[in-house]
């Protein structure tokens, strides 16, 4: 007994070091798969309120650019409305089809980073506004990310500028399918793979969402092709693409809620399990 006591008094700093370090590491491992609940974040109600308060200053600085983005969107929507009234059958918004029924919840960005390997954005809508884990988030001209944590008033989303990003995309001209990823190098340049070398892909071509995942509506613009490189070991292209929206200066986003998501997902897991 005395020797144990002696050991403890001699090495208690080391013991505490191991305990604290192990605890911190376990937090990292837990938060490493984004499905897991991450409890150290700015979507908590207290920290969320605090960060929201601080962010009001930043919003004020960005008012000018936010205004012009909203104005642009407004004009576009008005145009769409005009065309919809003119040709009621030809709807360009992927709102209500047989497979999808989308609902958009507007939200304000409270906290945003782009300089990490996995970047999170906090928004001011939570479970009381109907936000759930796994929903997609888009801005007026591109995709933003996927919701990973929800509290009553705030939620946290993993932005597309993350090494864990994997979004099904489509080349708009040829309808070929590929995957959007990020190699953690430049926060404005993402990578797309899976396009066959036989396809006529050119610079500045538009990449849009595939719309198979029930998270994002189809045909939302994602990025523009910036650099084309043929992978010598496979028969696919490696593309560098530039995001269509500037995530670092976003202020307002839309959460996409697909009312048929549960039905689609349960059906698709059924197929996957067979």
């Amino acid at each position: 007994m005395r020797s144990i006591y002696y050991l403890f008094t001699r090495f208690y700093v080391l013991i505490f070091f191991v305990i604290l370090e192990a605890f911190a590491l376990s937090l990292i491992f837990k938060s490493n798969t984004y499905q897991e609940v991450k409890f150290l974040n700015t979507s908590g109600n207290i920290t969320g309120t605090f960060v929201n308060y601080l962010n009001s200053i930043k919003h004020f600085i960005h008012l000018g650019s936010t205004n012009s983005i909203l104005l642009e969107e407004n004009t576009r929507l008005k145009n769409q409305l005009y065309f919809q009234n003119k040709y009621p059958s030809d709807s360009s918004l992927p709102k209500n089809s047989t497979a999808y029924k989308f609902e958009y919840i507007p939200a304000k960005i409270v906290n945003n980073t782009i300089n990490k390997s996995i970047n999170y954005i906090t928004i001011d809508k939570g479970s009381k506004d109907g936000v759930e884990k796994g929903l997609g988030v888009i801005s007026s001209n591109g995709v933003v990310g996927i919701i990973t944590n929800v509290s009553t008033n705030y939620s946290l989303l993993m932005s597309v500028i993350s090494v864990k990003t994997l979004i099904g995309v489509r080349h708009k001209k040829t309808n070929a399918l590929g995957n959007l990823r990020w190699n953690a190098e430049n926060p404005f340049i993402l990578q797309v793979d899976g396009f066959s070398k036989t396809l006529p892909i050119k610079k500045n071509d538009t990449i849009v969402t595939a719309g198979f995942s029930s998270i994002f509506p189809p045909d939302i613009p994602v990025a523009f092709v910036k650099n084309i490189e043929a992978d010598e070991s496979t028969s696919f292209f490696n593309l560098d693409v530039k995001l269509s929206n500037n995530i670092s200066s976003l202020s307002y986003v839309y959460i996409v809620k697909n009312e048929k998501k549960k039905e689609l997902d349960s059906l698709q897991t059924l197929i996957a399990n067979e």
């Binding site: 208690y12 700093v13 505490f16 070091f17 604290l20 370090e21 605890f23 911190a24 590491l25 376990s26 937090l27 990292i28 837990k30 938060s31 490493n32 991450k38 150290l40 974040n41 700015t42 908590g44 920290t47 605090f50 960060v51 601080l54 930043k58 906290n111 980073t113 782009i114 300089n115 990490k116 390997s117 996995i118 999170y120 906090t122 946290l156 090494v163 190699n183 953690a184 190098e185 430049n186 926060p187 670092s248």
Partner: protein, 169 residues
């Protein structure tokens, strides 16, 4: 004397955490991510009990984590240098040994000493942080590059603040 040390250190912790959360987390430095808060641990008086340094490191890291969605990254890397600090101080002690009231800062230890002291501890911190963040050795050189530019930026801020608060003798 003790309460004076306590108050200056408490203020320094609050200011550095605020600097990190309010300014450095927000500024767009491209691929670099500047972290200056380890300075609070570095500048604790030499004879602060090791266990106190350890717990201060852990909880400071946790605070930064909560406000920057770090998920334990800051806590893990800061706890590591809170422990490493005592070994570095033992290795780097003056010829006559540490005095009871010594503080390992620029004013009392000199430029060269502080340069090496901060360089070693910040390097350990940044290495741990960025490698735990990507959690792989894929893109090894890209991570190393990120570490080097972040480390350089952080250290420039650290040395500038140290020079600013330098007490003339």
């Amino acid at each position: 004397m003790n309460s004076k040390y306590f108050i200056t250190n408490a203020i320094r912790f609050v200011l550095l955490i605020a600097l990190q959360i309010l300014l450095l987390n927000e500024l767009p430095f491209g691929r670099a991510y500047l972290m200056v808060y380890p300075l609070a641990i570095l500048l604790l008086p030499v004879f602060t009990p090791r266990i106190t340094v350890l717990f201060l490191g852990f909880f400071t890291g946790l605070t930064i984590d909560i406000f920057s969605n770090g998920g334990g990254l800051h806590a893990a890397s800061l706890t590591a240098i809170a422990d490493a600090r005592s070994y570095i101080l033992d290795t780097f002690q003056p010829r006559s040994g540490w005095d009871k009231l010594d503080v390992p800062n620029l004013s009392s230890q000199g430029y060269v000493w502080f340069f090496y002291y901060s360089l070693i501890l910040f390097s350990i911190h940044h290495f741990l942080y960025f490698f735990l963040e990507v959690f792989s050795f894929a893109n090894f050189f890209s991570t190393i590059f990120k570490i080097i530019i972040s480390l350089f930026g952080s250290l420039v801020v650290v040395w500038m603040t140290s020079l600013f608060f330098k007490r003339s003798k």
